[in-house]
Symmetry: C2
Subunit: 457 residues, 2 copies
């Protein structure tokens, strides 16, 4: 490793050093992620079937588990240049605050208006929709980052954008909604009475504050019932992990420039888009037997799909209109308790990460939100950046690992993904500041209810 003194606070790649291809980690996996199944036939979904829901080119990417590298179209590369490369930051101030011998780096994806890494996939999905001459796309959003990212991408390509926003977020985050409107998107609180599945859920659960799984069902229906529309998703899918590999590729290129080899790579995990993107190229090296790393997925104790879920085929949505995916899941009916702040509230996990986890190539831990906000506040005060609650899960565990190094004296190199900023999460920060934040860990009985809804596959 280079002398510390030569490592700047922020490592930026040159524009010419930015990735020109995405990396598809499935190509290097011996045990491939299980295929999506048609819920009616229980047969693997064909490209034609998926083409009713997704853009053709994205279907190709979704089904491709053999090609390791896929070209990034020039138009997407150009858009990336507006807000990328994102900096790989050496957390000198955090190291000093913790008084740890560990070397901590974070890849910061929050320096764009969507406030997170979600834009990396949003622009790709909007591009392919435009290429297919579609009128527009539909999607769901929970905490709001994905909806904002997609609104920005659609504004850039002049596509219509319909966002179903989980009702509790819609109400708690009026400003997120307003950002999406500024970018020309149409935002509907979910469940809504604009879709059959929404009306059905409203009838069954009056007064529900909604869930991601439910908003997905509505967005899929809205896409498939209108000419010229397709559905796009911000996480979970293999295509999304592919696009998000730009995070890991940039991280690796930045580390390589300074001959740094990380020991531990940490990311928060909701549906897996950031974590999958961050670790992909490193996992590729591990899969090919070239190098070894520890990978840690961090999830909220209130929505513990990896640490307490089952590895099984499940519906991706509450309305059960989507294909079945084999994944670590809490059941498509699972909804985190009402005190859960921010994102990372999806019931399942990317099939790729689920398989890697099942193959013991990756670890997972869960953390409680009060400890997460404590870490977030400490981080903000020394590193300047106000982190998103989601990202702060990774901060918490990076700090824990750095403190272990302090005990053992090991100079480990820790890299974590700082996926975004918390500017639209001040209600949650306010609760923490006022000492009103609470934790809730689901009981085994809570979880049993979700598992009861798993399909018999």
């Amino acid at each position: 490793m280079s002398d510390n003194k030569t490592i700047p606070y922020k490592i930026y790649l040159e524009e010419s050093e930015m990735p020109k291809q995405w990396y598809n980690v499935r190509a290097d996996m011996k045990n491939k992620p299980a295929p999506l199944l048609n819920p009616a036939t229980l047969e693997p979904m064909t490209a034609e079937e998926l083409g009713h829901v997704f853009c053709d080119e994205l279907v190709k990417q979704e089904l491709d588990d053999t090609n390791a590298y896929i070209d990034i179209p020039q138009e997407i590369q150009d858009f990336y240049k507006m807000y990328r490369p994102s900096p790989l930051v050496r957390a000198y101030c955090l190291e000093k605050e913790l008084d740890t011998p560990a070397k901590i780096y974070y890849k910061f994806e929050g320096n764009n208006t969507s406030g997170s890494h979600k834009l990396n996939s949003a622009i790709a999905q909007a591009y392919y929709a435009k290429e297919q001459h579609l009128k527009g796309v539909t999607t769901e959003t929970g905490a709001g980052q994905w909806g904002t990212a997609l609104s920005m991408a659609c504004a850039y390509f002049n596509l219509d954008c319909k966002v179903f926003m989980v009702k509790c977020s819609y109400e708690q985050k009026p400003f997120r909604r307003e950002v999406m409107r500024t970018y020309g998107a149409n935002v509907t609180p979910s469940p809504s009475d604009t879709t059959n599945v929404g009306r059905k859920i409203l009838a069954e659960f009056p007064g529900t504050s909604g869930s991601l799984g439910c908003a997905i069902s509505e967005a899929v229906e809205a896409a498939t019932s209108q000419e010229g529309y397709r559905y796009v998703l911000g996480s979970v899918l293999s295509q999304v992990l592919l696009h998000q590999s730009v995070i890991g590729l940039e991280t690796k290129a930045a580390l390589d420039k300074y001959d740094i080899t990380p020991d531990i790579i940490i990311g928060c995990a909701g549906g897996g888009s950031n974590l999958g993107g961050l670790i992909s190229p490193f996992m590729g090296e591990k899969l090919r037997g070239e190098k070894d790393y520890r990978f840690i997925a961090v999830e909220p104790a209130s929505c513990p799909s990896l640490t307490r879920g089952k590895y099984a085929y499940d519906f991706c949505d509450t309305g059960m209109v989507c294909p079945l995916s084999k994944m670590y899941t809490l059941g498509s009916g699972f909804i985190p308790s009402a005190n859960h702040a921010g994102g990372l509230r999806y019931h399942g996990m990317s099939s790729t990460l689920s398989q890697l986890y099942d193959d013991k190539l990756m670890e997972a831990v869960s953390v409680e939100q009060t400890s997460v906000f404590e870490a977030a506040t400490k981080f903000a005060r020394v590193e300047g950046i106000l982190p998103a609650p989601e990202s702060s899960h990774a901060i918490k565990v990076a700090m824990d690992e750095a403190m272990k190094c302090k005990e053992t004296g090991e100079e480990k190199t820790i890299v974590f993904g700082l996926t975004g900023t918390g500017y639209f999460d001040m209600v949650a920060y306010g609760k923490y500041n006022d000492g009103d934040m609470t934790d809730y860990i689901p009981t085994d009985e809570d979880l049993a209810k979700g598992f009861a809804g798993l399909p018999n596959v």
Copy 2:
């Protein structure tokens, strides 16, 4: 100028290329800005008198109009490295959208948690307070960027931070307040009953929504009535322009790397901190007769201190506790109409910029806010970044100048300051999105009321 193809979307300096000295434009001015006067004696304020209000080192900087370069202490350079250099962005997408032959660049200062350039001076002022072993500092904030920046700086140096926030902003922007609290600041709506001057203003104008001038009075009183505290200010003062010269120095270094010479440099102007910082090194060249540039200050039509104000000695605050400053002013009692959104609401202008404007070395224009939000929305959709309302004043005029180039066919190079992001201004964006935004240009009678309060100096 280099071939366009070689100019990246974003020009980042290397850490080693960042400025190690601030540039003090007053050193190169033939007509120096008029000195601050003691309101009781009408004599120039001495260092000793100013030392009751400001930190000693900052007083030195305030009074220094002869040294062109002042070293940036290493601790401040280190903090700058956490969020600087800021990118100089080539607005390729905006140029394409406008179909203009003009080449447009913007220096983007919004990629830090304070959301604006204000952090550049906040960290300097906090550093000198810490060096002087003070307990803390007090300040005012309007739109909230400055208060956030100072909170961050104080958290970094473990200083107590008391912020008086203009009441209408305090109420409209609870999330700004929460960010400050997250960084450990104490935030009070102004006018408040915690100071004599606040109580007096409340008695005289019950129900007032406050003003910057009033919040300044309270912050000064809070600083001077407590042991170990000093007052700090985010704009207007010469020391602030000095710190903000880091913007212009980086901009110039980035342009020089690609042999680019701007024709026009544009910045929004409230108290003048961003504009003064951005143009300083270029103005220095103009003052020394080395190069010529057009400089354009853009102010809101609702608070037109340069374009419709008087060049006269005036109070810096409503409570008349501060020194007198010679500046373009609307009178210390002037308060913009209630429909005015965002910052740029100060009644006066930096004495340095006022002198440069009076010497016809700089131009000024005023624009109405509906046209500003129209420009902001167009910019956001093509360049990705959601701009602050303040910054959008500069966007509006940069677009206007680019459109003039389209008419004449001139390939002018336009540089403007994009001071910050609008994430906390979504109430105003919402009004614009709903078509409910209105404009108000003060009548001559409105202005006469403010002028009537000017002191007889």
